[in-house]
């Protein structure tokens, strides 16, 4: 993949990610989030992870964003009133973030093998969906069942927490 395409998507992802955390309007944030994640999905595809890229778009653009937007509309959230900047909070947070990024860069650059080109891979004979599917049902059956339980608990929880009058 051409580096230029990679950098475009990275910039898209990070730019809209930044927009998520700086925009005053929650709707803008939610939409930026989706664009950021679509760019992220493109990066997945660029790494050959087609299945992950697809479910990324399906889950985030299809479900999560709708959920966020729906809730924002439901609660009728408006643009945040411009408040005076809280200097200590912002500066403190910024310093923490800058320190974290510094540590992260140090770690990334020290990581051996990070600077070389990716090793060559062949295309999976049955495509990666087949491979992942087989592995999930063959080796990762237990986590799959746990995730099933998790979703059950989550759906019960959502009902409990939001139904107006429980039975």
């Amino acid at each position: 993949m051409a580096p230029i395409v990679f950098w475009i998507f990275v910039i898209l992802m990070l730019g809209f990610g930044l927009s998520v955390i700086v925009s005053r309007n929650p709707v803008t944030s939610a939409l930026s989030l989706v664009v950021s994640f679509i760019a992220l999905a493109a990066l997945y595809v660029s790494l050959g992870a087609f299945f992950i890229g697809v479910i990324q778009i399906l889950v985030y653009a299809g479900a999560v964003m709708v959920l966020f937007l729906f809730i924002i509309m439901l609660l009728d959230l408006r643009v945040e009133i411009r408040k005076r900047m809280n200097l200590p909070a912002v500066s403190g947070g910024t310093i923490v973030i800058i320190l974290f990024i510094k540590i992260l860069f140090d770690v990334c650059y020290s990581f051996n093998g990070g600077h070389a080109e990716f090793p060559a891979v062949s295309v999976a004979t049955h495509g990666d969906v087949w491979t992942i599917g087989t592995m999930i049902f063959r080796y990762y059956n237990l986590p799959l069942q746990i995730v099933g339980t998790l979703i059950l608990v989550a759906s019960i929880g959502v009902v409990i927490l939001s139904k107006r009058e429980l039975k």
């Binding site: 986590p143 746990i146 998790l150 409990i160 927490l161 429980l166």
Partner: protein, 479 residues
């Protein structure tokens, strides 16, 4: 034995599902019946666990070793007692959950802890980051629901939101750390990681350490280690009390088993393992200081227990930091067993008394010794044990932890531990003083205790003493 151990969690899961089904298809049944079914079912699971020998499971990511068995028994027992508490707490739940019928939502309140229990049991066996992650999340998400369960109670909701945000925050760190560990070692399985680590080049040490520390942060949140413990007092205070007990015992215990397994895996590479231990020492010291000092000015018993739970996390971390000593794991296990007894005992009595006195401030316990000698004695034993008075389980736990710290030459931690025990005496005795020295408030009638709670209190008190007087019993916990 032909009984596959992995079936146990599925049985617990089925139990939870069965309760949910019964809940939805019956109309007039008394909902507390569900709790009793749950207790009996979990009791059967406990018996099976008692009989199953440790052995291979045929799965790479799932082990059934003595430690796993201990923790499974531990969480099953905790869940049973939490259900007992929930029955006592049902009136409060009904008050704060909107519903058509008077018992709306109760069925779910009894069923979700059983599903959580299944998640904790999976965590006890998990040695693969994927399995750890999903079971950890199952536990976490059920706690989101349970903490915020009383949705007409603003405190419960506030606690729910605080837990939600901070927990998701810690999950982010955990997942990122696990990603890095995978990136460096090419494995998500702890056993495999332990095997490949010694061959790791020195230039990758900071990368693997970065991953390990972030995983530590994620687990540090679960076990309430400073500085990742800020949620604890608020959430413990706001959550329904049985859930607080569940959080402080079950959630913390499974956090510790994962922590133990991860730290153990990293010991195969001393340069990294030592730094992980150094991080644990820092966390332990911070946790000890914070938990014990901040507890001093507390006037609310529930909040006091929250700080005390942070303090105990500090002692447990001391034991984990002493991983180089032979008995480190054993000390953690015995300390947790003692912690289960005394913490659940305090919460159970707290629920009964605060139901009656309508408040969980320490002043609500004034003169309890006259109103209800049994409850006062039970709480006295719990406080003594939490403080670490000899001949109680808590003393044994602290003794072993200090021994481990001594053997692994963590003298600074040892000194800190001994000093903070002194602080502990002060704030635990505050409760005792209220019960025995202060005279009762206007409401001087005796407090009614249900038969089941009565039996539970007696058993917990009994075991607190038995464990303290016959420590050999405790060493048998890990067959």
């Amino acid at each position: 034995m032909s009984f596959p151990p992995a079936l146990l969690e599925l049985l617990v899961l089925c139990l939870g599902l069965a309760l949910l089904l019964v809940e939805s298809f019956t109309e007039k049944q008394d909902r507390t019946l569900l709790a009793y079914i749950g207790m009996v079912g979990l009791g059967v699971i406990f018996l099976i666990l008692q009989l199953l020998p440790p052995g291979p499971t045929g799965m790479a990511s799932y082990v059934f070793d003595p430690v796993a068995i201990f923790f499974k028994k531990f969480v099953v027992l905790t869940t049973i007692i939490v259900l007992i508490m929930s029955v006592d707490y049902a009136t409060t739940i009904q008050r704060f959950v909107p519903g058509i019928s008077s018992q709306a939502g109760l069925g779910e309140f009894f069923a979700i802890p059983i599903l959580t229990c299944a998640g904790m049991m999976w965590m006890a066996s998990a040695i693969d980051f994927i399995l750890i992650f999903v079971s950890l999340e199952l536990v976490t998400i059920s706690f989101y629901v349970l903490v915020a369960f009383m949705r007409r109670n603003a405190s419960s909701l506030e606690a729910g939101v605080k837990y939600l945000i901070l927990s998701a925050f810690s999950t982010g760190f955990f997942a990122y750390g696990a990603a890095w560990i995978f990136g460096v070692t090419g494995n998500t399985n702890l056993v495999r990681i332990q095997q490949v680590l010694p061959a790791l080049g020195a230039e990758n040490y900071s990368a693997i350490l970065f991953g390990a520390l972030l995983v530590l942060v994620g687990l540090g949140f679960k076990i309430a280690a400073a500085p990742f413990q800020f949620w604890v007092p608020d959430v413990y205070q706001g959550a329904p009390t049985p859930i607080t007990a569940f959080l402080s015992v079950g959630s913390k215990a499974v956090g510790f088993i994962v922590l133990l397994r991860v730290v153990q895996a990293f010991q195969s590479l001393p340069p990294v393992g030592d730094k992980v231990v150094a991080a644990l020492i820092i966390l332990a010291a911070a946790t000890l200081i914070y938990g014990n000092l901040a507890a001093l000015p507390q006037t609310n018993l529930k909040r006091l227990l929250a700080y005390s739970s942070i303090g105990h996390a500090g002692y447990l971390l001391m034991a984990v930091a002493g991983i180089s000593a032979r008995d480190s794991g054993q000390a953690v296990v015995i300390y947790l067993a003692a912690y289960l007894l005394m913490t659940l005992l305090s919460f159970l009595i707290l629920i009964i008394v605060s139901n009656y006195a309508d408040g969980d401030e320490i002043v609500n316990f004034n003169g309890l010794s006259q109103r209800s000698p049994l409850l006062a004695f039970g709480l006295l034993v719990a406080m003594m044990s939490l403080a670490g008075v000899p001949f109680t389980a808590g003393f044994l736990g602290k003794f072993l932890v200090f021994k481990v710290a001594y053997e692994s030459q963590q003298f600074v931690l040892l000194a800190l531990g001994i000093i903070t025990v002194g602080c502990g005496f002060y704030y635990y005795l505050k409760v005792v003083r209220a019960m025995y020295w202060q005279s009762a408030a206007s409401n001087g009638a005796t407090i009614p205790v249900s038969g089941l709670s009565f039996a539970t209190i007696v058993l917990l008190v009994l075991f607190t003493f038995l464990l303290g007087i016959f420590p050999q019993m405790a060493t048998g916990l890990l067959r």
